[in-house]
């Protein structure tokens, strides 16, 4: 599945989560240090949250 992290395309395997998308984008360390992850409607997401095709998430 293809998702977007801070507008960057990341390819994930089935069952992979927000955490995996951040690993792919090289942003997991920032999230572990306290930055938060949001969906495109501004809702905060947990790192183990499921993603679906085309999801856009943002690390802030």
């Amino acid at each position: 599945m293809k998702v977007f992290v801070n507008n960057r395309e990341i390819l994930l395997l089935p069952g992979m989560t927000v955490k995996h998308a951040l690993i792919g984008a090289g942003l997991l360390d920032e999230a572990m240090a306290g930055k938060k992850v949001f969906d495109e409607w501004g809702n905060e997401l947990g790192l183990d949250g499921a993603l679906t095709e085309g999801n856009s998430i943002y690390v802030k």
Binding site: P14, L28, D39, L45
Partner: protein, 535 residues
């Protein structure tokens, strides 16, 4: 004519009255409170917030709050899936403590999440039998005990609750866990039940383990859903979303918040909505003592189990040098991974192994210390060329003791750390034969590397370049993936292996050899010279 008119009017009034008699709560304002929880994953004692020392959650505090909120108005307490699997409190007892707690709390219903299937169908059936509340899964066919929906009547309001789970479930757990089950389209399933139930109830709630985006799609596709209480995407909806007339909520994860949705219903329509997430702050809240006792009782059992001897190491198992050379613990772990996923090759990053296991008794604690991460095994088909690329990346940071150094099984290779990056790996053999750069091999690794962790891009790129790569219903359709069990951490696989074998020994087999090459002749310290292999 006048008499006919009067008879007609009388008939209309009679029919209307009879409709009102069977249609509940018609015309009256009725209040309903929905308390909701999702993706609890067995975090009964709470969880430390990321990037902070503060603890949040704790089911005993959440239960105390739920009891108080229930006293205020007619209430349903609902769980939107992924409740019974996730951390040692749940996993070591295959979810039993969570059901025990949910029974005590008086849940009205729960829908299954994909992780409810991670212990297999037989265990799930046991948990469903133990539950004193209905467990819902309208789009799962073949699972005994699951109900498609329930009808509850809090405060005289007739409420249908339909449960659905992601149809991706079979792709994220071991195939054996869902063998014989069919996961139907959630939208088509909900549409069918809404059609069936709409006229006989006041409101319809979908208890969904589909994820927030899919909940929105469901609401836009299926008319007649009043509320979707969701889970799966671990979304912290500070305020409800409204799609058409459908209210959508979700309560983050791990019981760190309790979702509170208050609605007023009139004539089968929601006329007022208020939603909030109540934070569960153990330092500022009371506990429900009976729940706290269950948490403590199982917590003591977890501690005892963690210290229980599960096997014996006949030699020291080296987890210290995993970032610079092959070790016997690295060999053991990758052998187990290869066996579990029935792959030809196993590759794992040394950085994922964090401690040695000393000669002598092995406890669960030893395994959890050596493998502290919740990594799981994934396997896919890679060409010899792609495998070579992965191995090159593995030795590219060896001088800096970086975690990307690989421990391997099913293959052997030599490398010269003095050569330029990308040209260091030589003599790659798979199963004892020279690796064919154009042939395809099944390779397992962990999810961290497969996602691109430690700078490994090859696994993801291989998926992308696959000729048969396609996406249908949010799922990758590809014969590239041969194993993908996100519900079973690698440490649990290793734990089960040691439990079964009891006596564990492993030696460094010479799978990875560091050499120094000069003018085509490569020497290993202390070994005779060997001819150089073409790259």
């Amino acid at each position: 004519m006048l008499r006919i008119k009067k008879v007609f009017i009388a008939l209309v009034v009679c029919i209307s009255l009879s409709i009102l008699a069977v249609s509940p709560a018609h015309g009256q304002f009725k209040e309903l409170r929905i308390l909701h929880l999702n993706d609890f994953h067995g975090f009964a004692a709470g969880k430390r917030l990321i990037g902070s020392d503060e603890m949040q959650g704790g089911i005993a505090c959440l239960a105390w709050l739920a009891d108080n909120l229930r006293k205020e108005k007619p209430t349903l307490l609902l769980a939107a899936g992924d409740m019974i699997q996730g951390n040692p409190f749940a996993n070591l007892f295959q979810g039993k403590p969570v059901i025990e707690i949910m029974n005590k709390m008086g849940f009205d219903a729960m829908c299954v999440g994909n992780h409810e299937f991670d212990f297999g169908k037989d265990v799930l059936r046991e948990r469903i039998t133990e539950a004193t509340f209905p467990v819902l899964g309208a789009n799962v066919k073949g699972m005994p005990g699951l109900k498609p929906y329930i009808i509850k009547e809090p405060g005289g309001l007739k409420v249908a609750v339909i449960g659905v789970v992601t149809e991706d479930t079979p792709f994220a757990t071991h195939p054996a866990n869902v063998e014989g089950l069919t996961f139907l389209s959630p939208a088509a399933t909900v549409e069918e039940y809404v059609r069936k139930l709409r006229d006989s109830v006041d409101i319809i709630i979908v208890l969904s383990h589909l994820g927030y985006n899919n909940d929105m799609l469901l609401a836009s596709r299926v008319k007649g859903i009043d509320i979707i209480v969701g889970g799966h995407s671990h979304t912290r909806t500070l305020k409800h979303m409204l799609i058409g007339n459908t209210v959508i909520v979700q309560a983050w994860e791990y019981g760190m918040v309790l979702g509170v949705l208050d609605v007023v219903v009139q004539s089968g329509k929601i006329v007022e909505v208020k939603s909030r997430l109540e934070e569960i702050k153990p330092s500022q809240m009371k506990k429900r003592e009976d729940i706290a006792q269950i948490v403590e009782q199982y917590g003591r059992q977890v501690d005892a189990l963690m210290g229980r001897i599960i096997g014996k190491a006949l030699v020291d198992l080296d987890g210290e040098n995993v970032r610079t050379r092959e070790t016997n613990l690295g060999d053991l772990i990758t052998d187990i991974m290869r066996q579990q996923s029935n792959s030809q090759i196993a590759l794992t990053n040394g950085g994922g192994i964090r401690a040695s296991i000393g000669k002598g008794n092995i406890t669960l604690n030893d395994i959890y210390t050596a493998l502290p991460f919740d990594n799981y095994i994934v396997a896919m088909k890679l060409t010899g060329r792609e495998i070579k690329e992965v191995l090159e990346h593995g030795v590219s940071g060896v001088g800096l003791k970086e975690g990307r150094f690989l421990q391997v099984s099913g293959l052997s290779f030599t490398y010269d750390p003095k050569m330029p990056q990308g040209l260091r790996v030589m003599d790659v053999s798979v199963g004892g034969a020279k690796m064919d750069i154009d042939a395809t091999y099944t390779v397992c690794t962990n999810d961290f590397l497969a996602a691109g962790g430690d700078g490994y891009r090859t696994f993801r790129e291989a998926m992308k370049e696959s000729q048969d790569f396609s996406i249908t219903a949010n799922t990758i359709k590809s014969d590239k993936i041969t194993y993908n069990d996100s519900g079973r951490p690698l440490k649990d696989v290793v734990m089960d292996y040691i439990r079964e074998k009891k006596r564990i020994t492993a030696t460094v087999e010479g799978r990875i050899k560091e050499v120094s090459c000069n003018e085509g002749v490569c020497k290993q310290p202390g070994n005779p010279s060997a001819p150089r292999y073409d790259r």
